[in-house]
């Protein structure tokens, strides 16, 4: 390939004179104020306090020294894990409620990671609860564990549904183990995961008919029910009311579909009151295009231009059946959007300067963010061939208007040039003050992983590295 060695095909540095730049921008985007980690820490602390509070009724209701037999001790451990599991289940659902406050303060990416970790803990807590209670009760009545299962299922109200809920939860948990998940079709996995709402429903009853701390009317029971109501309200708000309000307010429609490269398209959207759309460059929406073949699918795409009050644009690489259908969208097609979400924005920066690393179509959120970053940013754009470079005219213009240095690094991953450049030393040579910058990364997983490793080795603190990941 002729261009395989043109790894640094061009460097365009913003000039100090602003006369060369285009001044077509109607409203110069402002640099958003920094959003500190305060909100995230507050929410994390609240969730932890809730965890302690959920075990407190057991602590207060159990007389000290009462756990003299093994059966009593095991049963008590079963009750504690039960309370913890009940609480964690609510936290799990809350984190996926898409509540605007959570999306704003914590961000979908971080929530996804928390959801994963809490999910694993929840599964262990539920299984511990089940087995400890079974062993404890069986010991108490001198039964075998199997006989105890029979007693619980036969004599206890709501226990059958609780067992079903446990089964569903195990299924959901195991299907989310990374290796298994990759082997499953996305739709099947998604359906399985959706069934966890059933866990919420089926597991509800037994907590109140048998939970030693919950069956008595009183503040504990009332509080627990209130927690459930709160989470359901959050779900309704985040998944139904907020999107409904957003779409009724903005009524987005496709205005035009433009080819950016042979396999990339830009979809321009217009709507009402877009000047009041609160969106940051780098954020994404979940889009649902309301045509016959597409309405049932919702996909996350970044917006590839900062909010300008007149139109929105998303730039999409055609990789699958759904994205191929998007090429044929007719102007006027209604669009249902859910968002904006994401913490991959200029507002979440920790430093004054930024280094952006984009791979292929990963340029789209970075292109939008460039308009809002303080001047002096640096962009490294990795692409396999010059034809894969997207939006280059806009990037050149931004380089001048926003005083941004841009390096186009073209070539295959294994070529010596790009390999050298993307190493810790290569990066430090390009951007000597890298360790004092925020680094924003968006691109294919291989590039992201490799870059994070290089950045960490070069001494960039982990919290200064921002990743755009849509995957849960």
């Amino acid at each position: 390939m002729t261009h395989s060695h043109t790894h640094a095909a061009g460097r365009r540095t913003g000039t100090t004179s602003r006369h060369g730049g285009r001044t077509a921008e109607p409203v110069p985007p402002q640099i958003p104020a920094r959003r500190g980690p305060g909100g995230r820490r507050l929410l994390a602390a609240l969730l932890l306090v809730g965890l302690l509070a959920s075990v407190l009724p057991w602590w207060l209701g159990t007389p000290a020294g009462s756990l003299r037999t093994t059966a009593a001790t095991v049963t008590a451990a079963g009750r504690i894990t039960g309370l913890v599991a009940g609480y964690l289940l609510l936290v799990q659902v809350l984190m996926m409620s898409r509540l605007p406050v959570l999306e704003r303060w914590i961000g979908g990416e971080q929530l996804g990671r928390w959801h994963r970790d809490v999910g694993a803990t929840l599964l262990v807590a539920v299984l511990a609860h089940l087995s400890l209670i079974l062993v404890g009760y069986a010991d108490l009545r001198n039964h075998s564990v199997l006989a105890e299962v029979g007693t619980l299922l036969g004599d206890y109200e709501d226990m059958l549904s609780a067992f079903v809920a446990t089964g569903i939860m195990m299924l959901v948990g195991f299907s989310s183990v990374r290796a298994i998940r990759r082997a499953l079709p996305y739709e099947l996995w998604h359906l399985l995961h959706r069934s966890s709402y059933l866990v919420l429903l089926l597991g509800f009853g037994h907590q109140f008919s048998h939970g030693a701390q919950l069956y008595k009317p009183g503040p504990v029971r009332t509080g627990w029910i209130a927690l459930y109501l709160l989470v359901v309200a959050a779900l309704l708000w985040g998944r139904v009311i907020a999107p409904l309000a957003f779409n009724l307010r903005h009524r987005l429609r496709v205005a035009d579909v433009v080819a950016e490269s042979p396999d990339t398209i830009s979809i321009y959207l217009t709507g009402e009151r877009l000047d009041r759309l609160e969106m940051l460059g780098g954020q994404h929406f979940r889009w649902r295009f309301l045509t016959r073949g597409c309405w049932w699918q919702s996909h996350p795409f970044s917006v590839s231009a900062a909010a300008n009050g007149r139109w929105l644009r998303l730039t999409v690489k055609v990789v699958g059946a759904h994205t191929a259908d998007l090429r044929d969208l007719d102007p006027g097609t209604r669009v249902w959007a859910q968002g904006p979400s994401g913490t991959f924005t200029a507002a979440h920066r920790l430093r004054d300067r930024a280094l952006l690393i984009a791979g292929g179509s990963g340029i789209t959120p970075i292109r939008a963010m460039l308009e809002e970053l303080p001047p002096g940013a640096a962009l490294i754009y990795r692409a396999r061939t010059p034809a894969d470079v997207l939006l280059s005219r806009e990037l050149d213009w931004l380089a001048q208007a926003r005083d941004t240095s841009i390096w186009y690094v073209i070539g295959s991953r294994d070529d010596p040039g790009p390999r050298q450049l993307m190493s810790p030393d290569g990066l430090l040579q390009l951007v000597p003050d890298m360790t004092h910058r925020d680094v924003y990364l968006c691109g294919p997983p291989g590039l992201v992983e490799q870059s994070v490793r290089a950045l960490r080795r070069a001494g960039v603190p982990r919290r200064q590295i921002h990743l755009a990941t849509f995957e849960l």
């Binding site: 000290a64 020294g65 756990l67 803990t121 262990v124 108490l140 009183g218």
Partner: protein
């Protein structure tokens, strides 16, 4: 994934720690915690299901005397004090109740048959006014060790003027988790009492 591992380890460790802390009766810290903690939690439980006027004195007075008198073994205070409390004051609630329900003269007490099970002896008494059960009292429930806790659960759930017996007006009660035998014996005695009464 590393954080999930940490969280799971933390869950196991803290559950063990909680159980151990509660399980050791001798430690001074727990003994100090207990009197402060105890009035907080069980009293609201006592107030709600049982009759509001008599639950306060009946629930608190024997408890405080026992826990003050025997600090070395604070554990049985809650459960053993309760039955004696309800039993000794069993006559006390009748006085205010008959005065409040003065227009209805047909209030009677019916005691069910005693039922033995492997944990102890169960006997139930109901107070019937007209065609309604207005109160249920367990005259005897298994006691000692683990049974205290389960008997306490059974009593809290079924007994009183607002318990499940009064709500359901029958012996068709839900089994209390962890206390199947005692629940069944309770139901059996209650069934006998209902048959006698109606």
């Amino acid at each position: 994934m590393r954080r999930a591992f940490l969280a799971i380890t933390g869950l196991a460790a803290s559950t063990t720690a909680l159980v151990v802390l509660k399980g050791s009766p001798g430690t001074s810290q727990v003994a100090q915690d207990l009197p402060a903690a105890q009035p907080v939690s069980p009293t609201p439980q006592g107030v709600d299901p049982s009759a509001a006027p008599d639950a306060g004195p009946a629930g608190t007075t024997p408890k405080s005397s026992v826990s003050a008198g025997a600090p070395s073994s604070p554990k049985p205070s809650r459960s053993t004090a309760r039955p004696s409390g309800t039993r000794t004051t069993a006559k006390a609630p009748t006085a205010p109740r008959t005065t409040t329900k003065a227009p209805q003269p047909t209030t009677r007490r019916v005691t069910g048959p005693g039922v033995d099970n492997e944990y102890g002896y169960v006997q139930v008494q109901i107070v019937v006014s007209g065609n309604r059960i207005v109160e249920a009292v367990a005259l005897s429930l298994p006691s000692g060790g683990e049974s205290d806790i389960h008997s306490g659960d059974v009593r809290d759930r079924y007994n009183g003027t607002g318990g499940e017996v009064v709500q359901k007006q029958s012996a068709n009660l839900n089994t209390v988790s962890g206390a199947t035998e005692t629940s069944n014996s309770y139901k059996q005695s209650l069934r006998g009492a209902i048959e006698q009464a109606f």
